[in-house]
Amino acid sequence: MTNSFGEFENAKLFFLIGTNMTEAHPVASYYVKRAKLKGAKIIVADPRYQALAKKADIYAQIKVGSDVAFINGLMNVLITENLYDKKFVEENTEGFEEMKATVMKYPPEKAAEISGVSADLIREIARTMAAIKPGMLCYTLGITEHTCGKNNVMSTSNLQMLLGNMGMESAGVNPLRGQNNVQGACDMGALPNVYPGYQAVTDPKNKEKFEKAWGVNNLSDKVGLMIPDMMHELTTKKVRAFYIFGENLARTDPNITHVEHELESAEFLVCNDIFHTETTRFADVIFPAAAWCEDEGTFSSSERRLNRVRKIKDAPGQAMPNWWIFKQLAKRLGHDWTSNSAQEIWDNEHSMVAPAFAGIKYNRLEGDGLQWPCPNEEHPGTKFLHKDGKFTRGKGLFKGIEWTPPAEVADAEYPLVLSTGRRLVHYHTRTQTGRCGLDRVLDDKTGLNQMMSEERVDMSAADAQKLGVKHGEYVKVSSRRGAVKVRAKVTDEIPAGMVWMSFHFSEGNANWLCNNVFDPETKTAEYKACAVRIDKI
Amino acid sequence: MDASIKKIVARYPDEKSAIMPVMQHLQRENKNFLSEDAMDQAASVIGCSKSKVYGVATYYTMFNTQPVGKFHLQVDTCVPGFLHGADAVVEHLEKKLGIKAGETTKDGMFTLSRVQDLGSCATGPVIQVNDRYFENMTLAKTDALIEALKSGKEPENDPSMTVISKCGVLLNDRTQKDCRTIAFYKKNGGYQSLKKALTMKPADIIEEVKEAGVRGRGGAGFPAGMKWSFLPKNDSRPVYLICNADEGEPGTFKDRQIMEFNPHLVIEGIAISAHAINSKKAFIYIRGEFNWIADILDAAIEEAKKDGQLDNVDIVVHRGGGSYVCGDETAQIESLEGKRGNPRVKPPFPANSGLYGCPTVVNNVETLSSIPYIIQNGAAGYKKFGNPNNFGPKIFGVSGHVNKPGIFEYPMGTPLKEILEAAGGVKGKLKGVIVGGLSVAILTAQEAETLILDFDSCVKAGTALGSGGIMVVNDTVSIPELALRTIEFYHHESCGQCVPCREGSLVIEHKLHDLVHGKGKIEDIDLILHLTANIKGLTLCPTGEAFAVPIQAMVTKFRPEFEALVKR
């Protein structure tokens, strides 16, 4: 996020697109609702008429996968009606003309045709955003989980730069990160192209720096594989050993049948985990790991805030902290690492090699933590990025972006669009939230399972009626890749022609159905759009 | 949204204000029952949570969230009703219908309830059937009423009582069939004051009203002109005027006499006052039980509008839902905003932040109805009535043990004795008098002897003029029983916000109940005095004081009666 949660409550305008905060980031949604109580205007663009959409001042029910066209339509209005922030564009950005040329191809009528949002509403939204500033744009995976995810993301920053909503309080582009430490895993360089602190592996200076820091001379300057490619190469045997730390790829990745085939193909699979999962079934070796509360450490939240996590108990049995496991392996591979605690890893290693984190040390993290960038130990941390319109690369770059449809669209055989995501009471594949009842086992019927014990397919009353399906009744949902049996949940949140599911349950998991196609650059899967059909059973 | 609901919502600057009228509408459409569906519908129309709607619906007694019989017989057994023999009516009905109060007959025809004050004190016992009143009931008339209802006939009401107007300012000649019409009103000089006022500068009107020294008739006696001058100057927010027609204080039934028979007087008073304080929107907040009077007001406003009298202000009649506390100005504002009628913490005062956070003036019906006379006759004319600091005509209501209960418009400063004589004299031997509505200290027969009825004299005598609702108690009445009735009223009406009132009234009620039923202890009497002494001044709104004062007075002045109830 360019900005902080603390800026939500006093924001004057929210533009929320592809984010269902109420369920995925509940505490963030409280602040949005509070801003609304204080008079902020809320604009929601989402295919689902979800809780915040219901509270919104303006709701645009966009079609799944039409974001680029919709945003281009907004920018078209801003430019043709001369409503954009000329000063900001002139002083702080580049590429305006190129972007404009593309945007001019999306007059509101055209955008309306693609997005299903009326041209009038597109105009109203653009005018509202131009009139009320600053405005905060937030998105979540509704933007990224498309084959055009990167384009969607760039469209959001185009829009905010055009409005001049950058580099100040309660403005900016704010992707709410899905998982507690997905921001941190990126910051730590658990990415194939960058070292810790976003330093490119292809830059020889960085290679040299890290070789020195780590006392090695064999660092690779070749960008590595991303998850879908790793998985694919398991079947070609180009990747022979696969090490999965914590993730339950067998249920979180699209097209489960295919994913399980890939995992099965691995010559050698190692897992660190705290439970057996659908994924560990394929492992050759499983290391038992310490969980949350069983080790010291830090998480980085969406707002770039480093927070401490603390140990309150020992890990059960012989389970050990993950870093310890990696350290032991490194030792067996001939590398003696000196750090003996999370604090030593952070203070003596990470903060020494990643300049944006150089000022962050454990002794500064006792209270509310620190937000990076924080280049030195006197630095108070950074509440919002790009202050005064200064971007990391110098000037903000506009990009002209063309709309592309999802890879799979509804047709006669699979007439419904399936979109997927998270629900409030469970998390991912329920390995943790499923075990929070009185018995603390997965099939417990108390606790969070009491609030939701099986998956449902959310559908519109119109489609339910057409199919003769009643609320609560079991139906078969199938795609070209698989089929699941789940109960129907008839709800006003879903427009006709669309259905919606989550991936929290092993059996009724949306990923049996999802399309394993990816954004060409980010390799993010198109979880948000595929074609399915529903049959009565 | 259906058209009638849309119309209701459109009357208000903020749609939230329409919660109660919308629910009243839905309840009427559904056999006097507000179902869960209806509440959900109201929530979605208004755009608020279900709990908010439920909270409002269950706050006000007139919403039936449980089904009731076709005819809901509600007998007022509050203090005036009690003095007029309402309990006998209830017992009679229980026997006749074969049900207890609070129950519904098997055939679903009748639900019987004991209710608190209905504002028909001189014409008790009174039975409210759905939204119609039947006054001056006797057991024989009760039988006839039931038979008529059973056979589907429209029974007649007998609202007769003594009406004497010595001043002729507020009460008109109600014996005239057309007394409510604008034609009648204008024939007698009506709307001349408004015409004159509209030519005057607002500040000059306020000056004149100040000069007249008119003190609020709602009970507190605050000078009206002074209240108006507290409004902030040079403020861009709209100003609202609320005419307080909640008339909930037991013993009080004066405002309805003006509204029911002389509605244009109130309307003219509102129009002039609105001009004086630069208000474009005024509300008449009338207690919901007075539904037919609200209809009269609605019709009169239509008439006045058609006659071109109301170009300077839009007047909306807003019906309450059955809550005494909503007579308090800040509770009334909350209620008008579509909320539970919980009084607000002051400051801020309504003059600065009232309805919708805007400057607001709340005045009683009788206060506003005095304004046309002042404009027409000047402060000097007004001051011909009454004594210094206590000017003007005043409507007194006399109920309880007198021979001719009724309504009396006399100058301020009239001796109590004179009013009681006008009311036909005390029936039996006088034991005590409550002169200002139930919330003031009772006077013993001896204390009452020389009382002068005006604000200052009453205070000097250790009581208050309040609303001028006089309840006469003769020696057939047990004071502990009267005290129990009194606390039952306040406990029933407490909004429940603050602890001393909510819990204090409960404990006092329990202890008085124990005493009256021979289960009390001497310590209970002291506990009651301890509680009343500490509750005074401790509550969020004046309601705590409104029961602490009369209970304390009854116990201290008639302590032997309480002690006699304790079994030794």
Partner: protein
């Protein structure tokens, strides 16, 4: 500019706009207060926080009285204490405050008030009991302990804006209702627990904490929620190594005490008997327990073999977006420095 008020003869300096209660607290004076909550502001309902203000006849509620320069306050006069005692007695009279078996015992603001005012037993008793509502997955509502302070309602409507709670009924019958008076478990309540967090008494309690610990056995540890990317700060209430309950850290960034249902109630998995407790090696399609050395040697040997045969890029790894930074740091270091490949990723975009 600093201003001064005098409380019980002591000069108390303050800046800005503050209430008498706030200044009293800052200066170490205890004034019982039951409806006021810092996050919610004054409600002026309980009337227990009254004090004497020089020059004003009636007692004033300190929670809602703005302090003005030179104001003289008395918090401990017989008159004040008598009023306060009466209020607390009234609350104790009507309700089932059996502290001995109450989860809030020792952490209850009503109990504190009674204790400070020297009330041993309620001076008078009027009993009217309601049923408990334990239909919610995590929250038990006990109307018999509710003092109608309204904090839960304000919190639900103004802080988390879930708009579930309100007062229903009136006067002595006033009670907190969910939606149209539904059992909590059937209502639109999302079990965020904000109402529990602000409740001053034992009227809202955590189901999972019942019988687990007395308040004085509790140790508190601050940590970060393991679920979504908001990064809410939690206060773990521990007895030994067992989490008894989780609260949000008041005043902390970003959540100021708020949590969601997962953050507040999704903690038990760490104690699950289904946890993995020993390294496992698959032999003939079955997992067998192994020692660390066996398992680590096996993996290291296999890696070495593959590096030798196919180069480091034949090994790939996925790090965890749920675990700590330090774990991810060491995993990528393992891949880059020890194995020699950049084949390291995690579900960065999901």
């Amino acid at each position: 500019m600093s201003k001064t008020i005098i409380i019980n003869g002591k000069e108390c300096v303050f800046d800005g706009n503050k209430t008498v209660l706030q200044i009293a607290r800052e200066n170490g004076f205890y004034i019982p207060s039951l409806c006021y909550h810092e996050k919610l502001g004054p409600a002026s309902k309980c009337r227990v926080c009254v004090v004497e203000v020089d020059g004003i006849r009636n007692l004033q509620t300190s929670c809602s009285t703005a302090a003005t320069d030179g104001m003289k306050i008395t918090t401990d006069s017989p008159r004040v204490l008598e009023a306060q005692r009466m209020v607390v007695n009234l609350l104790l009279a009507n309700g089932n405050h059996n502290c001995m078996i109450c989860e809030k015992n020792g952490d209850c603001e009503l109990q504190d008030a009674a204790y400070h005012l020297g009330i041993e037993l309620p001076a008078f008793v009027v009993e009217e009991h309601e049923d408990k509502d334990d239909s919610g997955a995590f929250i038990i509502r006990d109307g018999n302990k509710c003092i109608q302070c309204g904090r839960c309602i304000e919190a639900c409507n103004r802080l988390v804006v879930n708009e579930v709670l309100d007062f229903g009924f009136r006067g002595g019958h006033t009670q907190v209702v969910c939606d149209g008076n539904k059992p909590m478990g059937d209502s639109s309540c999302v079990q965020c627990g904000e109402c529990v967090q602000v409740c001053p008494v034992g009227a809202l309690i955590e189901k999972k904490a019942v019988g687990k610990a007395r308040s004085w056995e509790i140790q508190k540890v601050r940590t970060t929620c393991p679920y979504c990317g908001v990064g809410c700060q939690q206060e773990l209430h521990l007895k030994g190594d067992q989490i008894v309950r989780v609260k949000g850290v008041e005043g902390a960034k970003p959540n100021d005490g708020h949590l969601c249902v997962k953050g507040r109630y999704g903690y038990d998995f760490i104690y699950s008997k289904e946890r993995l407790t020993t390294p496992l090696i698959k032999k003939n399609g079955k997992f067998e327990e192994a020692t660390w050395d066996e398992a680590l040697d096996l993996v290291a040997d296999k890696f070495k073999q593959i590096i030798k045969e196919s180069g480091p890029d034949a090994i790939a790894g996925v790090s965890c977006a749920r675990s700590t930074n330090e774990d991810s740091f060491y995993m990528q270091k393992l891949f880059r420095a020890a194995i020699g490949t950049n084949n390291i990723d995690h579900c960065a975009r999901t």
